[in-house]
C-alpha cells in the first residue's frame, strides 16, 4: 500500500514535465497499433474472402475423373482406360448411401443462340443433385433443374450468369427459348453471381447446364466426364473416396490401391492447404505489424533511457533520501505502460474508424476487393494486439527502470 502511494506520488511528479515526450511516445505506439491492426484486418478479410471464394465451387466435395490403370489387376494389364457411365452413379449411391454422388458430362464449344445473338459455350449434362453440391443457386424468378426434368428428359437449361448475359443482354432469359445446337431449350433459371476460386473445366458462370438424361438423348453420350462426390462431414471424405475406389474398382476392373485409375481432386484436403496458406499470411502480416509496434516500443524505451540518464543524479538523491529501488523503478514501468496503453487506445480507435470506413466501399464489381475481401477486425485480432502491446509496454518501461535501479547513489553523488 505504501509502495503504491510512493510510486504514484513520484510518477505524478515526473509526468508533469514530460508533455512533449509523452506525446511523441504515444504517437509512436499509436502508429504501430494502427499498422498492426490494419495489417491483421486485411489478413482476416483476405482469409474470409479466400474461404468464401473457395467454397463457391462447393463444400466438402471431391471431383473424380476417369484415368488409366497403373497396376495389374486380376490378370488385366496396366494402361487400361478406366471409363465410368451414368449407371455407375446408381451403383455408388446404393453402395455408399452416406455420400452424395452426381455425374457430369461436358460438351465443349456448343452453339447457343437467341434471336440474332449466337455464342459458343460449354454445355454440361448433370444429375439434379449436382446443383446443390456445386452451389448453382438460381437468381430470383428462376429455378434449378428438377427431378421431373431429369426423369422426362425435358429440354430445359440453367444458365451461368455470364453466358446468360452474353446471349440475352439485358433481357430476362427465364422462360425464353434458347437454341442449343439448333434445338430449342426453355431457360428455367440463371445462376446467382458468385466469386469462384478454384474450378475445373472453366468457371461456372461461363457454362449452361441441362439434365443429364436430356444430354444423353441429345448428344448420344453416357460416358461421364467426371463424378462429383460430397461427404456429409469433411472428416469422412477420405474414407468415402476409398470406398468409391473399391466399388468402381470391382466393377470396372482396377486395383483400388491404384491411384492413377481415378485421378481425384479432394477439396477437403486442399482446403487445409488453403487454410494454412491464409494462416501463413496472417502470421506474416502479424509479424510485420508486431515489428512496427516493437519499433514504437523501442522508441518509448529509448526516450525513457534518456530520461534515466538525464535524471541519474536525481535518482541518486532520491536513493540517498531513502527511496527503495522499487520506488525508483516502478514509476518508470508505470510510465511505459501508461504511454503504451494510451497509444494503443488511440491507435485502436483510428484503426477501427479506418476499417469501418473501408466497409462502406462497395465491393460488388470491384475486382480487387472481390479477391482481397474487406478488412475485418476480429476479437482474436484485438486480443493478440492487446497482448503484444502489453508486453511491449512492460518491456519499454522495464529495461530503463532496471538501469535506474542499478544506479549506485554513492558514486552518482560523488562528482559535484
Amino acid at each position: 500500500m505504501r509502495d503504491l502511494k510512493v510510486v504514484f506520488h513520484l510518477f505524478e511528479q515526473s509526468s508533469r514535465l514530460a508533455k512533449k515526450r509523452a506525446f511523441l511516445t504515444i504517437a509512436a505506439i499509436a502508429w504501430g497499433t494502427v499498422a498492426i491492426l490494419l495489417l491483421l484486418a486485411f489478413g482476416e478479410g483476405l482469409k474470409r474472402q479466400l474461404d468464401s471464394n473457395r467454397k463457391a465451387m462447393g463444400e466438402n466435395i471431391a471431383v473424380v475423373w476417369s484415368g488409366e490403370s497403373s497396376k495389374p489387376y486380376k490378370g488385366l494389364p496396366v494402361g487400361r482406360d478406366i471409363k465410368f457411365r451414368i449407371e455407375d452413379i446408381e451403383l455408388l449411391r446404393a453402395r455408399i448411401p452416406e455420400a452424395n454422388f452426381a455425374g457430369e458430362i461436358i460438351q465443349w464449344r456448343t452453339s447457343l443462340a437467341y434471336g440474332t445473338k449466337a455464342v459458343n459455350s460449354r454445355v454440361k449434362g448433370v444429375h439434379v443433385e449436382w446443383g446443390d453440391m456445386r452451389k448453382h443457386f438460381p437468381v430470383e424468378g428462376g429455378r434449378w433443374l428438377s427431378a421431373l426434368d431429369e426423369k422426362e428428359k425435358r429440354r430445359v437449361v440453367f444458365m451461368g450468369d455470364e453466358t446468360a448475359k452474353d446471349v440475352f443482354g439485358t433481357t430476362d432469359p427465364v422462360g425464353k427459348l434458347l437454341l442449343i445446337n439448333n434445338a430449342p431449350f426453355t431457360v428455367v433459371g440463371v445462376m446467382q453471381r458468385k466469386v469462384q476460386m478454384g474450378a475445373y473445366s472453366g468457371p461456372d458462370k461461363n457454362a449452361v447446364v441441362i439434365p443429364i438424361s436430356t444430354f444423353k438423348a441429345m448428344f448420344g453420350r453416357d460416358q461421364l466426364s467426371n463424378i462429383v462426390v460430397q461427404s456429409p462431414k469433411p472428416g469422412q471424405m477420405k474414407g468415402i473416396l476409398r470406398q468409391m475406389n473399391e466399388v468402381l474398382g470391382g466393377k470396372l476392373g482396377f486395383d483400388p490401391e491404384d491411384d492413377r485409375a481415378l485421378p481425384t481432386w479432394d477439396t477437403v484436403k486442399s482446403a487445409k492447404t488453403n487454410m494454412n496458406f491464409s494462416m501463413g499470411i496472417q502470421i506474416f502480416l502479424g509479424i510485420i505489424g508486431a515489428l512496427t509496434l516493437l519499433i514504437g516500443g523501442v522508441g518509448v524505451a529509448n526516450i525513457m533511457y534518456a530520461v534515466v540518464k538525464e535524471r541519474t543524479k536525481e535518482i541518486g538523491v532520491k536513493m540517498a533520501l531513502g527511496a527503495k529501488a522499487r520506488w525508483i523503478t516502478l514509476p518508470f514501468v508505470l510510465e511505459g505502460l501508461v504511454y503504451t496503453f494510451l497509444g494503443g487506445a488511440a491507435g485502436t480507435l483510428i484503426a477501427v474508424l479506418l476499417v469501418t470506413g473501408m466497409g462502406f466501399i462497395p465491393s460488388q464489381g470491384n475486382r480487387v476487393m472481390e479477391f482481397l475481401g474487406k478488412p475485418t477486425l476480429s476479437p482474436l485480432i484485438g486480443l493478440a494486439t492487446a497482448g503484444i502491446l502489453g508486453v511491449i509496454g512492460l518491456l519499454a518501461g522495464w529495461f530503463p527502470a532496471r538501469r535506474a535501479a542499478s544506479i549506485d547513489p554513492a558514486s552518482t553523488l560523488r562528482y559535484e
Partner: protein
C-alpha cells in the same frame, strides 16, 4: 518531538546482534577498497571512530584523503569492505539494499556541497521527499515541511522552485530536508563549498543552532572557520584518522 506516521513500522533489528552502545556512530577497523577492474584502491585503511549523541564533529583533511568515502559509509550510502559499523545501536555492516534505504531515510540526513535539490519540484516538496519515503501522511508532511522551512528562515519561499532560490537559500532547503525525518545524525559534505562567505556564514550559524537544539552533526570541511566552530575536529590523511581533538566549543 514530532510523531511520525502511525503506520510507521518499528525500527527493525538490523544486525544479528544488537549492540548496546552509548554512541550513535561506532566504527571499528573499517576499510574501504574501491575495485576499479585493474586497480584496487584502498580509500580507508582501518578507521576507528566513535561519535556520541549531540556531538558536532568536523572532518578535515587534504583532497583525496578519504573524507567523502568515510561520510558515505557513515550515511549508509555505501558499505564497508571490512570492519564493523554500528549506527544507533544496530550493526549495519551487512544488511540488504532495502534496509540500507530505510536507514538512510530514518537515521541519516544528508547535506551536499551542490545542494542536490530536485529541480522540478517546489522547496516544500523537496523537504517532503524523505517524508514520502517514510510513509508520512500528506497532512503531516505539509505541516512538517512548513515548520522546517520556517525554522531555516524560508517560510515565505515554500512554493519556489530551487532554480528561483539563491545558493544559500537552496542549502537551507537542503538542511530542512535533512532534518525532515528527525535523523540520528546530520551529515554534511562541504556544505559551504559552493557558497560565498556571507551565505556560508549563515549556514555555519544554522549548524550551530542545530547543535544547540541537540542534533548530532558530522561536517566535512576545508573551511577552517567552520571547523573552528565544531566541538571536535578529526583529521583524515591517506585513509587514516591522524588526529582527533576536542575544542573549547560547547553547544550553548
Amino acid at each position: 518531538m514530532l510523531a511520525l506516521a502511525e503506520n510507521q513500522p518499528a525500527p527493525a533489528k538490523l544486525g544479528p546482534q544488537a549492540v548496546p552502545a552509548p554512541s550513535i556512530i561506532r566504527m571499528e577497523e573499517v576499510r574501504k577498497v574501491y575495485d576499479t577492474g585493474k586497480v584496487k584502491l584502498e580509500a580507508l585503511k582501518g578507521v576507528n571512530l566513535d561519535v556520541t549523541k549531540g556531538e558536532f564533529l568536523a572532518i578535515v583533511g587534504p583532497s583525496g584523503s578519504g573524507k567523502s568515502t568515510l561520510m558515505n559509509l557513515i550515511g549508509c550510502l555505501d558499505t564497508a569492505t571490512s570492519g564493523r559499523y554500528v549506527l544507533g545501536g544496530d550493526d549495519v555492516s551487512r544488511v540488504t539494499r532495502d534496509q540500507l534505504a530505510e536507514i538512510r531515510n530514518r537515521r541519516v540526513g544528508f547535506v551536499f556541497q551542490s545542494f542536490n535539490l530536485l529541480p522540478h519540484i517546489s522547496a516544500a516538496e523537496n523537504v517532503e521527499m524523505p517524508l514520502v519515503f517514510g510513509g508520512v501522511p500528506v497532512k503531516k508532511r505539509r505541516d512538517r515541511s512548513r515548520e522546517l522551512l520556517e525554522r531555516v528562515g524560508l517560510g515565505d519561499r515554500m512554493d519556489h522552485k530551487p532554480t528561483e532560490l539563491s545558493g544559500g537559500q537552496m542549502q537551507r532547503v537542503a538542511i530542512a530536508r535533512a532534518l525532515a525525518m528527525e535523523p540520528d545524525v546530520v551529515l554534511a559534505d562541504e556544505p559551504t563549498g559552493n557558497l560565498d562567505t556571507s551565505a556560508g556564514g549563515d549556514i555555519m550559524a544554522l549548524f550551530q543552532e542545530l547543535w544547540r537544539g541537540g542534533s548530532t552533526l558530522v561536517v566535512i570541511t576545508h573551511d577552517p572557520s567552520l571547523a573552528k566552530r565544531a566541538g571536535r575536529v578529526v583529521e583524515v590523511r591517506d585513509g587514516r584518522i591522524v588526529s582527533d581533538e576536542r575544542t573549547e566549543n560547547r553547544p550553548g
